[in-house]
Amino acid sequence: MIDVYTYGTGNGLRVCVAMAECELEYTVHKVDLAKGENTTPEFLKMNPLGSIPVIVDHDGPGGKPLTVSQSASIVLYAAEKSGKFLPSGGEARVLALQWLMFGASDIAGTNNAIFMTTMRAPEKVPAVIEFFEERLYGLFGEADERLDEVEYLAGDISVADLAFYPFVALRKPLLEGREPLTNLARWADAMATRPGVAKGMSAIS
């Protein structure tokens, strides 16, 4: 059994999607960031950084419990534990990892920069917010171009799609105000109809 401590952010939901799609046995514990539940002594014991998501797998490697934070490393953990969504070798594996890192570095980073400049900044600077929003839209455009050639980011469905999807879903308003990215939309629709994705996305009510 894996305990998943998370919240309804892009990083938080990608872990729920990965757990559900990998069909692992898990329980979701909501950590309400708005209420500061990530700064309690109990939570900080699991992750001194106080960031979600965190998992505790009571049946980790060697049968011993293992605590892991950082959403992309948790997605990798789920894939390797279940033997799903990550090819064991060849170009397919390299591509899956390449697009996983696209989601982990570029997408999650830029998405977080928008959050910080709109929600956390003591003063809102429209030029800065616009810069990061345009950058995120540009990154979505890169994925759209890729999805013009292939059905899923690495060809077949992989960790890359699971890690990317919640950000596309959560940034729907940003996408709607701009020129449509039709390949990305097709991909997002295909992802949304998957029972595992739907289950993961609704894990935090």
């Binding site: 001194p48 950084l49 960031s51 980790g60 490697p61 060697g62 011993k64 293992l66 892991v68 934070s69 950082q70 959403s71 992309a72 490393s73 990798l76 953990y77 070798g89 060849g90 170009e91 594996r93 390299v94 990892l97 390449q98 697009w99 996983l100 890192m101 696209f102 982990a104 570095s105 999650a108 980073g109 830029t110 977080n112 920069a113 910080m116 400049t117 956390r120 900044a121 003591p122 003063e123 600077v125 030029a127 800065v128 810069f131 990061f132 890169e142 171009e145």
Partner: protein, 205 residues
């Protein structure tokens, strides 16, 4: 011989340091970003999105040539290709992934966005830099705490140290101005003394 397309940014340094540490032969092509050399039609043939670093490995998976972008993916690829810098013990492996992802997502984001906000607001603007500077220093402090207990982030040297080093090096002045971090400093000096790190940093300078 691996071809590396890079420049002297922290991501460019990560690619070069990873290749040098893994003791792979590589030839560096330095791109002048200010002159837009990463946006030329020739370079876009190598990486359509016009970002560095990129590697071309003539001996990729299945003996076929491989072109690979995304800094983090390059680190993972080289680690798996050479069987180095990814711990063999499964538990330590996930700890390495965790710190690697923290460097590649959180640190890269805050460090890059901090530089961007300074560039955008050459006049000191505490409000906007604080949103990125404070979390960046918080992450650095967290690494410092970790390094009080262990020599390298995952216990043994791994891709996590290689991914973090260029950011620590780049932001060292800022860290010192903010009071310094003794464990991170010890680690930084130990990393700098490694021939592979020195060679990689030199290759893109």
């Amino acid at each position: 011989m691996i071809e590396l397309y890079a420049c002297n940014t922290s991501n460019g340094q990560r690619g070069a340091v990873m290749l040098a540490e893994a003791e792979l032969a590589f030839h560096t092509h330095i791109l002048d970003l200010k002159a837009g050399q990463h946006k030329t039609p020739e370079f876009r043939k190598i990486n359509p999105v016009g970002a560095i670093p990129v590697i071309i490995d003539p001996d990729g998976p299945g003996g076929e040539p491989l072109t690979l972008a995304q800094t983090g993916a390059i680190c993972l690829y080289i680690a798996e290709k050479t069987g180095r810098f990814l711990p063999k013990d499964p538990r330590t492996r996930y700890i390495a992934f965790q710190y690697f992802m923290q460097a590649m997502s959180d640190v890269v984001l805050y460090s890059g966005a901090y530089a961007f906000s300074l560039m955008r607001f050459p006049e000191p603007n505490v409000a906007s830099t604080k949103v990125f500077k404070d979390p960046l220093l918080e992450h650095m402090g967290y690494f410092d705490q970790r390094l009080a207990d262990v020599e390298f982030l995952a216990g043994e040297i791994s891709i996590a140290d290689i991914a973090l080093y260029p950011a620590v090096n780049q932001r060292w002045e800022l860290i010192e101005e903010s009071g310094g971090l003794p464990n991170l400093d010890r680690w930084r000096q130990m990393m700098a003394a490694r021939p592979g790190i020195a060679k990689g940093m030199q290759a893109v300078s």
